[in-house]
């Protein structure tokens, strides 16, 4: 830890950092993604209003145009307000918070599941491997949104009605996570198969290291590169899946609106000319998905120059 400055300097000189500095598109993508993530994390301190606190809402402020003082109250809002007088800018910050929380948690869940399955399949081989990979094959031939919807439907049937509201976010995380573990499992299995036969693993086996220890502290760190790439691209996909499910009305509960819920709400007011309720959440979602996708593409090229 005392060498942290030299570590930073070494990171700055590494190939990955070099390719980052050389790519303006990646730098812009990183700035956009970081801005949205920081905005979401610090939403309670940045947002001018708390959209979930009814006492801070004033129905007179409803349908304020962006940057134009409201004709009844005289208040001005950066991105306007919705039907209940909620500040769109604040709802976006809080919405991105929920979208990103679900996205990160779902990717983490899918990642842990996929890595474990991949490592077990590679280490045990035989019927365990065949079974896990066959499940993966079958799941991969169905679109993930369909699988997430199905899991959501099952969970709704199993969870009692009065618990549905509080459990909804966790159901969503499990549904999205379960729908994308396959990518992780396949890549980790492939990489671990290669590592398994290398000499350091054989050496560890010979001196009697416990298999679990070999898998997690010797093989795992060596297969993390591709996992990082998939995790980044999965994050963009998970945020889109969450938005899609919430837009369809089977995602987060209405009391905790995410970006998808906000877009669904905005669509209702399109025909009466209140375009800002739709435009700003949509632009935020697009910026988030696009920038994370670009970062994932860059990371793939930077970590694996052969693929270029």
């Amino acid at each position: 830890m005392s060498q942290s400055t030299s570590k930073l300097a070494r990171m700055w000189d590494s190939d990955v950092a070099y390719s980052f500095r050389r790519s303006p598109v990646t730098i812009i993508a990183a700035i956009v993604a970081l801005t949205i993530i920081l905005g979401a994390v610090f939403a309670p301190w940045i947002a001018p209003h708390n959209p979930f606190d009814p006492s801070s809402l004033n129905l007179m402020d409803g349908f304020s145009r962006p940057m134009v003082p409201n004709e009844f109250s005289g208040n001005t809002y950066l991105m306007g307000t919705d039907n209940q007088g909620r500040d769109i800018f604040s709802t976006i910050l809080y919405g991105a918070r929920i979208s990103l929380f679900v996205g990160f948690a779902a990717v983490a869940f899918g990642m842990i599941l996929g890595i474990t399955a991949g490592l077990v399949a590679a280490w045990r081989g035989g019927w365990v491997d065949s079974l896990l990979m066959r499940i993966a094959d079958v799941q991969l031939s169905f679109p993930s949104i369909l699988i997430a919807l199905l899991i959501f439907g099952i969970a709704r049937g199993v969870i009692p009605t009065n618990m549905r509201e509080t459990m909804a976010i966790w159901v969503l995380i499990v549904a999205i996570g379960l729908s994308d573990w396959v990518q992780f499992a396949r890549v980790v299995r492939g990489a671990a198969m290669v590592e398994k036969n290398k000499e350091y693993v054989q050496a560890a086996r010979v001196i009697g290291v416990h298999p679990a220890r070999i898998i997690f502290s010797h093989i795992l760190p060596n297969v993390l590169g591709p996992v990082l790439v998939i995790a980044t691209i999965s994050l963009a996909l998970a945020v889109i899946s969450e938005a899609t499910l919430s837009f369809l009305g089977v995602g987060v509960p209405p009391t905790q609106p995410s970006l998808g819920t906000l877009i669904g709400n905005g669509q209702k007011y399109l025909f009466s000319g209140e375009w800002w309720i739709l435009l700003f959440p949509s632009a935020t979602l697009l910026a988030l998905a696009l920038s994370v996708n670009l970062l994932g593409d860059w990371l793939r090229d930077a970590l694996n120059p052969r693929l270029k």
Binding site: L149, G157, V250
Partner: protein, 327 residues
């Protein structure tokens, strides 16, 4: 050939059995089927009678067998939400989804191949770069957002096209209604078809472009040039023909995705197809409809996969060498 086909058919049946098991478990264990079918005031004795009538006390294997035999005959029970036979509900909504999938799939194929060939032949052109950049955005935009934005531009601002529903339909048979024959039906198809097909189009375009660039570098294309064939004959007779095998494979596999993604498109445009039926069933925990939809989609996927695999075996002789299509 026969042995390979037979093995693939057996594998497909196995997958369908697993899906049927999931569907059955869904029906049997998610919620209580009896409580979902009867009202509050039904007596315990009546419930007991219904339980016996449904065979819920039979051994698991017997129940599963009965479920499969009924499913094969198209009997998936009664919808909890709409109190109608599930098969009737699905059949009445199937034409809407199939017409939408057909139009968007065809458009995606024609435009995707066209743009793909164009961008491959004019690699440095301004239009090619524009098309490629747009395709990147097309891939990143979530389907529902494409739909909402199209409604905004073409239905709300320009007022060119309707934003929801199927327009006027004409009944061809007792359950098949078509929107192709009326002007409003055709106009209603445009926006949903574009929404559904845009992603597939970009996918096909990128694939055709990559394959074309690959083929244009091969020796037989150089030889065709050396023989003095016209550009048109080289590009379309030699190059494009050889890119079509992977494109048709991908297209076949994407057909299933189109039907699955129609869930989103149908919700955005309030299109009365099976996708919107499914999403409403998920919301209301209408298990029989969910189970039937799952089986139907799985059957479509499995059959397409099977046909593609067997076609591959016929088209590509290299697969036959190792005694089967292990991939």
């Amino acid at each position: 050939m026969l042995a390979y086909s037979l093995r693939r058919v057996l594998q497909s049946i196995l997958v369908m059995l697993v899906v049927a098991l999931i569907s059955f478990a869904l029906f049997r264990f998610v919620g209580d089927p009896v409580n979902s079918m009867v009202g509050q005031e039904t007596s315990l004795a009546d419930r007991e009678a219904l339980r016996r009538q449904l065979g819920l006390y039979d051994p698991f294997v017997v129940q599963f067998w009965n479920f499969i035999t009924r499913a094969v005959q198209g009997d998936f029970g009664i919808s909890y939400r709409l109190q109608e036979p599930v098969m009737k509900l699905i059949l009445s909504r199937l034409p809407a989804t199939l017409e939408l999938a057909l139009v968007s799939g065809t458009a995606a194929f024609i435009l995707g191949v066209g743009f793909g060939v164009y961008t491959a032949l004019n690699r440095r052109g301004l239009a090619s770069n524009g098309i490629m950049t747009l395709s990147l955005i097309g891939v990143s935009l979530p389907t529902f957002l494409i739909g909402v934005l199209l409604i905004w531009v073409f239905a709300v601002e320009l007022k060119w096209l309707p934003s929801f529903g199927r327009g006027d339909t004409v009944a061809l048979t007792s359950w098949w209604t078509t929107g192709f024959l009326t002007p409003s039906g055709r106009a209603s198809l445009v926006l949903p078809a574009v929404t559904l097909g845009l992603y597939q189009m970009t996918l096909i375009m990128r694939l055709v472009r990559a394959e074309m660039l690959e083929v244009l570098r091969t020796d037989y294309v150089k030889f065709a040039r050396a023989r003095g064939l016209s550009q048109r004959a080289i590009h379309f007779g030699h190059a494009l023909k050889n890119t079509m095998v992977p494109v048709i494979t991908v297209m076949g596999l994407q057909l299933g995705s189109i039907i699955a993604f129609s869930i989103i498109t149908e919700t955005v445009f309030q299109w009365p197809g099976i996708g919107s039926l499914f999403i409403n069933s998920v919301k209301a925990v209408d298990v029989p409809v969910m189970a039937a939809y799952l089986m139907m989609i799985a059957a479509i996927f499995v059959i397409i996969n099977l046909i593609v695999d067997i076609l591959y075996y016929i088209v590509d002789p290299r697969l036959r060498l190792d005694g089967g299509g292990k991939h």
